[in-house]
Symmetry: D2
Subunit: 144 residues, 4 copies
């Protein structure tokens, strides 16, 4: 499996913490969400402005918590597409401490191609398939 070609850096905010004094378990999904949108932006699959053209919706998330993240810690949220079906595709995520490289969480999400204007799922658009294939260096052609 190749390394991740995409990541964002996350600086934990005080508001990400909970009474247990670490980043709340819920907030990691926010970091995953932020990484997904920046990925779409970088690949030219979304303009960053029109949320009715975001083009996908979350269907399923699995997240494994390995080590806590603390205030002042900078973490690297890496993600990649690992599967593309007809209407759905999968992201894989790894959050690591930027200083030490220590693994903090691992996660996967199933995304469904979605038309927010029409409020319905759609087949993955061909340009999504080709741009993601090119970026990830894998052939995600339909039927591949």
């Amino acid at each position: 499996m190749p390394d991740f070609n995409f990541h964002i850096l996350i600086d934990a905010r005080y508001s990400d913490l909970d009474p247990q004094w670490h980043v709340n378990n819920v907030r990691y999904l926010t970091f995953m969400e932020q990484a997904r949108l920046k990925y779409l932006l970088q690949l030219g699959l979304w303009d960053g402005h029109d949320f009715n053209r975001l083009g996908m919706i979350v269907a399923d998330i699995h997240i494994a918590y390995i080590a806590p993240m603390l205030f002042g810690q900078t973490a690297r949220m890496a993600l990649r597409v690992v599967r593309m079906g007809n209407k759905s595709f999968d992201f894989e995520y790894e959050l690591t401490d930027e200083a030490s490289g220590k693994l903090l969480i691992k996660a996967e999400s199933v995304m469904v191609a979605y038309d927010y204007a029409g409020q319905r799922s759609i087949p993955i658009p061909p340009d999504w398939r080709s741009k993601i294939s090119a970026f990830e260096g894998r052939d995600f052609a339909q039927g591949a």
Copy 2:
């Protein structure tokens, strides 16, 4: 499988919404978290005040998104313990629309018994095992 013996009601806040005009996918984990703590309170496993005695930590979450939740919608977050190991146990969750009973999400989480003062996992305390067994009407005795 018996029905759920515990639930809380959730009234979606405007601040739970995202630019897609529905409850953000991340917020459902907040509802799950709230239900877990109220469950501990009701079973007398936590006093509701001392967060260093919360007694458990999240190790793993899986969530399947079935239908969106909207502003003004009241939903029922039901949960139950479905497994108890030596140090870990599992919650199962269902979020349904309170008016129609329609299923919105299904989820599971793995919890680890945890000593926040000592920052380490611990065996599930016997009173947790007995109180949860009694409440759920199932025998979660160690080695059962």
Copy 3:
């Protein structure tokens, strides 16, 4: 000054807390926001669905923190309109502990009548003025 004619009840969520073990100072604005929207709904000034027809935008907020709110505490967020100008109007808020009546915060906000589709401020619509006057039992007629 008459009493408040409108309030909502707020049950503090674990996710509203911060590392100091009380409701985070930021969250009270979320409760104020929730109360404003429910007020619009009750007065028939918003349909609860179309966020492009929300009709107002926040221009200014002042909040005084009197006493902390804790997990498990139910609080009453009361609000009322106390001024209507040509394009702007003011809400006044009081958050009290529901059990004891103890005051937790006092706040005011300046709202501007706003057309989200056109992205511009507008004069307060006449039906807002009349419905709010009727509900509050005060004459907020233009030029009054």
Copy 4:
């Protein structure tokens, strides 16, 4: 009045947005909070770890919303101490668009020196007074 000697940069997260497609009015207080804590860290008034030694609590906030902040926008949250009394002191804030310098919000907050362990307000510690005076280039000596 001198310029601000301290600022942090904020990259708007998708989770900071609301259904109106801009950063929610509540989130700016989160940015202010984050700036305050980083200020304490930089001046050596807090270790970044022990939240029982945070040393201050929010008593009052005023915020004026000038222009909206959007997804993908980087903003500069600048703050400075402008007054120190016996037990309380004031921060002043300006949030500007990092690219254009355009003003987005102006705010002030009153902080009270606080002992979280003892749950009570305290006189501002002398080293806070001297370090803040030195950093801001103003004499905040008691009785000054």
